[in-house]
């Protein structure tokens, strides 16, 4: 499992920045998984980094920078969803897939597989999606995921089981996907 711990005592702001930089690829993957859209994922990553820098004094030395970033990203994502609900906006999953990626050729190359993955993730409730991404994709332990999501470890386990059961249904029978999606 990748993850860097800033040690006790001597960790300055530069160390945190360097560790944030090292964690950036994984943060980007997590954000993209949450958003199911590359462009939105990068916006969330950028906002996460901005907030983390503004609140770097809140980082606890000796803890993992990547876990801290994941928690900030998850909280910002939830806040954004609440705002979207109030505005009543909804982007159909097909549009997300069409727009995914900054490079059109890249999207074409990976479209089929990535589209199916986005569809599977889109069908999960957000809380299950976050638990799945943290543990199954980012390799966080149940304890770490529980701390990031602020839920008991047992809840992490059951969310993962439900997520995997739902994913299996979708990937085995993609035609059965609901158009409504789950935000």
């Amino acid at each position: 499992m990748a993850g860097h711990v800033v040690g006790h005592g001597g960790a300055g702001a530069g160390d945190v920045r360097a560790d944030m930089l090292a964690a950036l690829p994984r943060l980007r993957r997590f954000c993209e998984g949450l958003c199911r859209k590359a462009g939105d994922g990068d916006e969330l990553m950028q906002a996460t980094v901005e907030r983390a820098l503004a609140r770097s004094h809140q980082f606890v030395p000796g803890t993992r920078v990547d876990s801290w970033l994941f928690r900030i990203a998850q909280n910002m994502f939830i806040d954004d969803r609440r705002r979207d609900r109030r505005r009543g906006t909804h982007v159909p999953v097909d549009e997300m897939i069409t727009l995914a990626g900054d490079d059109g050729r890249d999207v074409v190359e990976h479209r089929s597989e990535l589209a199916m993955v986005y569809r599977a993730l889109d069908q999960l409730p957000a809380d299950q999606r976050a638990a799945f991404l943290l543990v199954a994709v980012e390799g966080q332990s149940y304890r770490e995921a529980a701390e990031i999501l602020d839920i008991p470890q047992g809840t992490v386990m059951s969310r993962l089981a439900r997520a995997r059961a739902r994913i299996a249904t979708i990937l085995d029978a993609p035609d059965a996907i609901s158009d409504s999606g789950v935000q």
């Binding site: 920045r17 990068d42 990553m45 059961a165």
Partner: protein
């Protein structure tokens, strides 16, 4: 079998996949799997799905980072010192070399090439004054402790190492054969750089570092 039994079983399957069972629980679970081929098939399916999703999403870790995000994480010293200020302009172009960093010449302590090699991740295209372009391809450490970077410039490949004064000196240069923006260029694998092999051997460079290590070196001013 009750619904709670079903959920409990799938919870344990998830925990087994995640290595979250203790040894005794894992051994008991292994026995359950061996006794139930359908359950074993489900376990294999879930594991394969995890891998499929992780693989698809991992493309996100391989694309060059947005310059705006990298700029945010540049150390305050680098941003605040006008003698070392760097202007980043992001652009997405060819498949691999999609990040363009423009280095505007100011009264700098370092020459533009050194500044570019100090600040540009591998795969990114650095634009120097006069329209000169370089694309770093890999980073490795020489036996004497210096950091060295292979980079491409047009049709040429070069290997430069960083001196204690922050100036990068070319140790070797020659004709390369891969296009500048080739998707073959990667942090841990150079393009056709055979012309540089004697210099690599002379310097005793180790393996190329991975992207995360390189990012830390850039952020930390190469250990300065």
């Amino acid at each position: 079998m009750t619904m709670s039994d079903v959920f409990g079983r799938e919870d344990r399957l998830s925990a087994w996949l995640d290595g979250a069972l203790d040894p005794a629980q894992a051994a008991a679970f292994d026995r359950d799997l061996a006794a139930d081929p359908e359950f074993a098939r489900q376990a294999a399916q879930w594991r394969a799905n995890d891998l499929r999703i992780a693989t698809a999403l991992s493309a996100a870790t391989e694309r060059p980072m947005p310059a705006a995000t990298l700029d945010l994480l540049a150390t305050p010293a680098a941003n605040d010192n006008p003698r070392r200020r760097v202007w980043f302009v992001a652009g997405l172009g060819a498949i691999a070399a999609t990040l363009v960093l423009v280095f505007v010449q100011r009264p700098v302590a370092q020459d533009p090439l050194s500044l570019a090699l100090d600040r540009t991740p591998s795969l990114a295209d650095a634009v120097l004054p006069g329209g000169r372009h370089i694309v770093p391809a890999l980073t490795a450490q020489a036996r004497d402790g210096r950091w060295c970077r292979e980079y491409r410039e047009g049709g040429a490949v070069a290997l430069a190492c960083r001196g204690g004064n922050g100036v990068w000196h070319d140790e070797a240069r020659g004709a390369g054969t891969a296009p500048e923006a080739s998707a073959e260029i990667a942090v841990a694998s150079g393009a056709d750089d055979a012309v540089l092999d004697p210099a690599f051997r002379r310097l005793g460079t180790g393996d190329a570092v991975d992207a995360a290590t390189e990012a830390r070196l850039i952020a930390g001013h190469w250990g300065k």
